[in-house]
C-alpha cells in the first residue's frame, strides 16, 4: 500500500497548488462583477433562450458501447500480461470472447447505432445548382430579425 504514498503526496501538492492559486488570484484580481459580465456568453446579444435541453440519442449509444468496450479491454489485460502461462487455453478463451464481442459490435453498426451526420447521397447536383440562380438575392435568402421599431435605413449613406 505504501507504493501509493508518492501518488497521494503529489495529489495533495497539486490540490494545494490549485487552492493557493485561487487565493492569490482573489487577493490580486479586481472584483467588479456586473450583470452583463455574468450573463451567459452569446456573442454580444442578450441571451434569450435557455441552453438546449435535449441532445441526439447517439451520444447515449456511444457511452453505452464504450462501457462494453471498456469491459472487453479490461478482460484483455490479464490475458495480455499473462499469455505465456495461460497458453492455448487462454488464447481460445480470449478469441471466443472477442468473436462474440465483435459480432455484437457488427450488429450495432448494422443497426445504424454509430451513424452520425447526414448521408453523402444528400449532395445532389440539382440542389446545389439551385443555389446559384439570379432569383436568389440577399432579400430572398436572409431573413431580417430585430428590425422592428427601428428607424428605416436611409437609402444612401452619403445623404447623411
Amino acid at each position: 500500500m505504501s507504493q501509493y504514498l508518492p501518488l497521494v503526496v503529489l495529489l495533495a501538492l497539486a490540490v494545494v497548488f490549485g487552492i493557493l492559486s485561487f487565493f492569490a488570484s482573489r487577493l490580486l484580481a479586481p472584483r467588479r462583477p456586473s450583470s452583463a459580465k455574468e450573463a451567459p456568453y452569446e456573442c454580444g446579444i442578450v441571451p434569450s433562450r435557455e441552453p438546449p435541453e435535449r441532445f441526439p440519442v447517439s451520444f447515449y449509444v456511444v457511452a453505452m458501447l464504450f462501457i462494453m468496450f471498456d469491459i472487453e479491454i479490461i478482460f484483455l489485460y490479464p490475458y495480455a500480461v499473462n499469455h505465456s502461462t495461460l497458453g492455448f487455453y487462454g488464447f481460445w478463451a480470449i478469441l471466443f470472447f472477442s468473436v462474440i464481442f465483435f459480432a455484437t459490435f457488427v450488429y450495432e453498426v448494422a443497426r445504424g447505432g454509430l451513424d452520425w451526420g447526414p448521408m453523402q447521397r444528400y449532395r445532389q447536383l440539382a440542389t446545389d445548382a439551385a443555389m446559384v440562380t439570379p432569383e436568389r438575392t440577399l432579400a430572398s435568402t436572409v431573413r431580417r430579425v430585430g428590425t422592428e421599431g427601428r428607424e428605416p435605413e436611409s437609402s444612401s449613406p452619403s445623404a447623411a
Binding site: M1, S2, Q3, Y4, E50, P52, E53, R54, F55, V57, S58, F59, Y60, V61, A63, M64, L65, F66, I67, M68, D70, I71, E72, I74, F75, Y77, P78, Y79, V81, N82, T85, L86, Y89, G90, A93, I94, F96, F97, I100, F101, A103, T104, F105, Y107, E108, R111, G112, G113
Partner: protein, 192 residues
C-alpha cells in the same frame, strides 16, 4: 498497535468516510449531477479499500470502468434528457417504491449483519494470507497473474457468459434507440 496497522486504520476510515459520504450525497442531493458526483466519490472510496486490501487490479478496474464509463453514461443521460432542471422529483411514478425500499434496506442490513456475525472467526486470519500480494512477493504483477489464472482457468465459463451479458446490453440499446423504417408502426409526424 504498530505503525503499519495504524496506517491501515487511517486509510480504512478515510475511505469509509468517502464511501458513506458519497452514498448519502447520492440520496440527499436534489440535483442529479451532484448525486452522480457523490456516486463517483463512493466508487473512489471503494477503490481505495481495494488498494488497502492489496487488490490493485480491481482498484484500477473500479475507477476505469465504474467512474470512467458507467457514471459517464449516467451523466450523459442526465444531460441529454435535461432532467437536471425540468423534472419535478417530488412526483412519484410508482407508489409502492418507498415501502419497497424500506423492506429491501432492512433485508440488506440483516444480511450484512448476519454475514458479519458469521465471519467473525474469519477475521482472525492474518491479512494477505493465501493471496499473492505485491508486498509479500515483491512482484508487481502477482495480483493480475493470480486473477488471470482464475479468470481463464476455473472461471472461464463465467467469463464467456459475461460476453452474452454484453450482447443483451447492446441489443437493448439498439432497440431503445431504434430508428423506425418508413411504413412501420412509428407514430409518424408530418413527413411532408
Amino acid at each position: 498497535m504498530n505503525d503499519a496497522t495504524f496506517l491501515e486504520y487511517v486509510v480504512f476510515f478515510a475511505a469509509a468516510v468517502m464511501i458513506l459520504g458519497g452514498a448519502v450525497g447520492v440520496v440527499a442531493f436534489r440535483n442529479p449531477v451532484h448525486a452522480a458526483l457523490g456516486l463517483v466519490l463512493t466508487l473512489f472510496g471503494v477503490a481505495v479499500q481495494f488498494v488497502a486490501m492489496e487488490a490493485h487490479f480491481l482498484a484500477a478496474v473500479q475507477i476505469i470502468v465504474y467512474a470512467g464509463a458507467i457514471v459517464v453514461l449516467f451523466l450523459f443521460v442526465i444531460m441529454l434528457l435535461g432532467v437536471d432542471r425540468s423534472i419535478d422529483l417530488s412526483i412519484e411514478p410508482l407508489n409502492v417504491q418507498r415501502p419497497l425500499a424500506a423492506i429491501m434496506s432492512v433485508g440488506l442490513l440483516a444480511l450484512i449483519g448476519a454475514a458479519i456475525v458469521q465471519s467473525r472467526d474469519a477475521l482472525e486470519i492474518n491479512p494477505g494470507t493465501g493471496v499473492d500480494t505485491a508486498t509479500a512477493t515483491g512482484d508487481n504483477d502477482a495480483n493480475i497473474n493470480q486473477l488471470a489464472t482464475n479468470l481463464f482457468g476455473d472461471h472461464v465459463f463465467a467469463f464467456q457468459l459475461t460476453s452474452v451479458l454484453l450482447i443483451v446490453a447492446v441489443v437493448g440499446t439498439v432497440l431503445m434507440t431504434r430508428k423506425w423504417p418508413k411504413g412501420a408502426e412509428e407514430p409518424v409526424e408530418d413527413v411532408a
